[in-house]
């Protein structure tokens, strides 16, 4: 029997965090389960990157019909022939976010606030995603994935420089800003961007004359002179105050010198 596949878009939700096409969710290591029995896993690795991938996957599994009455992170696949309903139960979102966040932190020295900035949210939102009390939208999840992916690439190409490269600014923006703005292609081309990041050139010039400070420097290097340090001195309090309104009364006017053309 030829498979009959039906795809139904997830119903729109009011929550803006949940909006977006569900079918482009990149869910790794998805396992299909019978809804009727949570203990029986079919054990089929099922990677859904887009709608076509879902069709191919479902085609291979059911040989019947597929309905996607799923919520954002859940896909139901039912067979009209057998009557069995399979449920895609991917790793919970919070685990995915935590995995990405921890990987980014491990590869870079970015703070959680900086990671959240790349995702276009604040630190509390990122924390809420990890705790499971909120769910990221696809766009924001994709930003986290892009950050992890770029961190991985930089780490491989220039070990130990991930943070420096990610935070180096061009035209006032670093890579985190580009990720937050959704400029993924530009970010993936980080090596080109890095080539245009500010660099410092240093030139040294040796004076032909003996410098004025040479004797003092020699004395310092031989321990005869000491730095000022932080030791402060109590000073009169009244001397901190000024009254600018007094200026006009107390200061003499500048003498007016006119040229023949009348300019001062």
């Amino acid at each position: 029997m030829s498979p009959q596949v039906q795809i139904r878009q997830a119903p729109p939700r009011d929550d803006s965090e949940m909006s977006g096409p569900w079918s482009i969710l990149p869910i790794a290591d998805t396992l299909l389960e019978r809804r009727s029995s949570t203990s029986t896993r079919l054990g089929m690795p099922f990677v859904i990157h887009d709608r076509d991938a879902l069709l191919l996957g479902s085609d291979a599994i059911t040989g019947a019909s597929v309905s996607c009455a799923s919520q954002f992170w859940k896909t139901d696949i039912s067979s009209t022939e057998s009557g069995i309903i399979y449920t895609a139960s991917p790793r919970p979102v919070r685990e995915e976010v935590q995995k990405l966040r921890d990987e980014i932190a491990r590869r870079t020295r970015l703070t959680r606030q900086q990671i959240a900035r790349a995702a276009g949210v604040d630190r509390r939102s990122l924390s809420a995603w990890v705790k499971g009390s909120a769910t990221p939208s696809i766009d924001k999840f994709e930003r986290l994935q892009t950050l992890a992916e770029v961190a991985r690439e930089i780490d491989a190409a220039e070990p130990g420089r991930s943070t420096e490269v990610l935070l180096s600014r061009t035209a006032g923006q670093d890579l985190l800003d580009h990720i937050a703005a959704g400029h993924f292609n530009r970010v993936r081309d980080w090596q080109t961007l890095q080539g245009s990041t500010p660099s410092v050139r240093i030139e040294h010039r040796r004076s032909t004359k003996r410098p004025l400070h040479q004797n003092a420097l020699d004395a310092y290097l031989s321990g005869q002179l000491r730095p000022l340090g932080r030791v402060a001195t109590i000073r009169p309090e009244s001397d901190y105050e000024q009254d600018l309104s007094e200026a006009d009364r107390l200061m003499p006017d500048e003498p007016i010198r006119r040229s023949r053309r009348g300019y001062r």
């Binding site: 400070h213 000491r226 000073r235 309090e237």
Partner: protein, 256 residues
């Protein structure tokens, strides 16, 4: 120029006029122009590419040198002093307040310094400069330990440094500090700041306090170090064309 004995006088605490060893820096253009008098200070050139975010770079010239602290005493440790007084007002003993303020690393610890330069490198020669006749320069005699050679403080070059990176070399006398302040006033604010000095020269005493009574703004009261008071009185209705003020001296010992 003052003699070394009159010019130098050691003081332990940081003061305006201290001669220090420190780094100095200034912002430069892309061609790395360095006037002859600053060549020995401009030992390193740093060019930060695209610092202006518009293909425009930022240039810095920096080096180690001798410099004079030009920050006024009252500005030194200003935030530290304010913090100590706040804590004292809150009932903390002075020793504890000082210790707590010292432990606060956020308080301002900067100084403004001007470098010492070789007057031979200045255009116009060293004669007038070492005689103290050129505005913007303060002559410095040779230090007895030769830590400082005969030179001038270039007050036209001022930069802010962190006191943690400053080594004190020597300090100067009160008379020399007056010369410094006078030179700073003439450079930065008043080209004709010599009225007070002229009065001191005429009466042969040092001015210790100057005030303008609120009730009589036409009068300037100048208190001398021996307790005498000089009263300058503006002539009502006949302002001088040049300065707007004429002076008339009234002197009395111990009273107005």
């Amino acid at each position: 120029m003052m003699s070394p004995d009159d010019f130098y006088e050691w003081h332990d605490e940081p003061r305006q006029g201290d001669i220090v060893l420190c780094g100095v820096s200034r912002v430069i253009a892309g061609d790395h122009f360095s006037p002859p008098q600053w060549e020995s200070l401009d030992a390193h050139f740093l060019q930060v590419e695209d610092a202006w975010d518009a293909g425009h770079s930022l240039g810095l010239a920096a080096g180690i040198g001798l410099a004079m602290v030009i920050t006024h005493d009252c500005q030194l440790d200003k935030e530290w002093n304010q913090r100590v007084r706040e804590l004292q007002r809150a009932g903390m003993p002075i020793e504890q307040a000082e210790a707590q303020a010292t432990a606060d690393m956020t308080l301002d610890r900067t100084l403004v310094v001007s470098p010492l330069i070789d007057p031979s490198d200045l255009r116009g020669g060293r004669g007038n400069v070492m005689a103290g006749r050129v505005i913007g320069y303060l002559p410095v005699p040779k230090h007895q330990d030769e830590l400082v050679t005969e030179c001038v403080v270039d007050l036209t070059y001022q930069c802010t440094v962190d006191r943690l990176d400053v080594v004190k070399v020597t300090s100067i006398s009160e008379t020399a500090r007056k010369q410094l302040r006078y030179a700073l006033i003439q450079l930065d604010a008043l080209r004709t700041a010599d009225l007070g000095f002229q009065i001191e020269a005429v009466v042969g005493r040092t001015i210790s306090k100057v005030e303008v009574p609120d009730r009589d703004p036409l009068t300037v009261r100048i208190q001398l170090d021996d307790g005498q008071v000089i009263q300058l009185l503006q002539q009502p209705g006949t302002p001088d064309q040049e300065t707007g003020r004429t002076g008339e001296f009234f002197s009395s010992r111990g009273q107005d």
